[in-house]
């Protein structure tokens, strides 16, 4: 996400359009691209989803196994989130272990899931201190055209929502749906000059000075946030973004609800 440079001409074009309230792909500043969500796409996964935000495409899969809990949470299942920016998804992505961008993405998506209590990990204990369900939440970027935060978060939420705990495979009784308590939704807003835009494309990300990612729940409460890039926001802008994220989040929630 760092090597690419947008040409000066394209940069100017994006800026000029935005001053008139328009974007390259015809959207208004606060419009989100068409979202598509397909679940159950991977038979070998306990839950899976393929999500598109325009040309950005992400695949998330949930695998489960039995393991030992952490000593400080002996009666809780374990969630582990990873994100891979595979080189298939963009000419700038390289092979190798996850770099800073992929790690930040995984951690921000993970916090949205974890802090909202979306997965009821208390119900994933088999035998306290000994056996709990380990959930591996793996996300692959398939095609990157901006806003991986929101696409990755939505793919993972959709995969979890439709996941089944494979208890019978492990002789632990009948399979049951992964216990879900709520549907956190993540919305990212970027700042270009002094305009706030929702769901930035790759080119818009390159031109933007700062980004704010907000995860909110059904009540409109805030569960996680992450500011990115070396620009800044005013306190008022932040408050406005949070409201935007809560409002837009409600719409997105309906897609997977």
């Amino acid at each position: 996400m760092s090597r690419s440079v947008v040409s000066e001409i394209r940069r100017n074009h994006i800026n000029e359009l935005l001053r008139k309230g328009a974007r390259m792909d015809g959207r208004g500043p606060l419009d989100i691209r068409e979202i598509s969500v397909e679940t159950g796409v991977i038979d070998t996964a306990e839950g899976s989803a393929r999500v598109r935000y325009g040309d950005t495409e992400v695949l998330a899969g949930v695998k489960m196994a039995i393991g030992t809990p952490f000593p400080d949470t002996p009666d809780k299942g374990v969630l582990t989130t990873s994100m891979e920016l595979i080189p298939m998804a963009h000419p700038d992505f390289e092979s190798g272990p996850p770099g800073g961008d992929a790690i930040e993405l995984a951690r921000v998506v993970d916090r949205g899931i974890r802090e909202s209590g979306m997965v009821d990990v208390g119900k994933l204990c088999i035998s306290p201190g000994e056996e709990v369900w380990m959930c591996f939440l793996d996300i692959y970027a398939i095609n990157y055209d901006g806003n991986l935060f929101d696409a990755a978060a939505l793919a993972l939420v959709a995969a979890l929502k439709t996941a089944t705990v494979p208890a019978s495979n492990f002789d632990k009784g009948e399979d049951f749906p992964l216990p879900i308590t709520c549907l956190p939704v993540t919305v990212t807003v970027a700042k270009i000059e002094n305009t706030l835009i929702v769901d930035p494309t790759f080119d818009e990300e390159m031109v933007s000075s700062a980004r704010l990612t907000v995860t909110s729940d059904e009540n409109g409460d805030i569960r996680a946030m992450q500011k990115g890039k070396s620009g800044s926001f005013t306190v008022d802008e932040i408050s406005e973004i949070v409201d935007l994220a809560r409002e837009k989040g409600e719409g997105i929630r309906k897609i997977i609800g």
């Binding site: 070998t44 695998k63 000419p91």
Partner: protein
Amino acid sequence: MDSDIVMVDEKGKRADGREADELRPMKIEAGVLPNADGSAYLEIGKNKVLAAVYGPRECHPRHLQDPTKAIVQCKYNMQSYSVGDRKRPGPDRRSVEISKIISEALESVILTELFPRASIDVYIEIMQANAGTRCAGLSAASVALADAGIPMRDLVPSVAVGKADGKLLLDLNKEEDNFGEADLPLAIIPKTDEVVLLQMDGHMTKEEFDAAMKMGVAACHQIYEMQRDALRRRYSVTEEEEVEE
């Protein structure tokens, strides 16, 4: 090897209803990824595979550059949820070997001498695995190369021939593979029937081997037709789109 398991019934049918020399249902779509220079999606049985091509582009790292031709770098990757027990992300010894032999097979058909110092990068992602992923990946990759407009002598269809219950069976699925006695993945250049990928493990007599090669080559020609269909569909769709504009 367990004699209670019957791979082929008295009528010569396999558990999934196939004949001994029948491929699993197969589907190929070219041009599925916006960013890549070329791409393809392939399903065969329960395998789901994506292939993407970037290049010819600057070779990175530089010390791998060849002043006389492009190098072909394939990375075969199994996604973590593609198999029964979660696979740890990142390359393992198996995927390193598979990446190497697929790179070699693709290099045999690409006109690499047209692009000195360049790299042609091929990425194969196994989204869902059910035996035969290396062949599925290679079949998909050659469609992706064609979609990218890379000059090639031909496409490279690939399939494995197996042996189970003492019988040669085309294109084993996972259940068959688990009880199989031999596996022979191969890939050919259909125009000349040259073999560009070949591996074998298990136990075969020379006679069985010769018969297996024959069965594999014939099946490659079937796959070749499906590869060409996918490219034809892709091309005609593009034409229509262009007309519409």
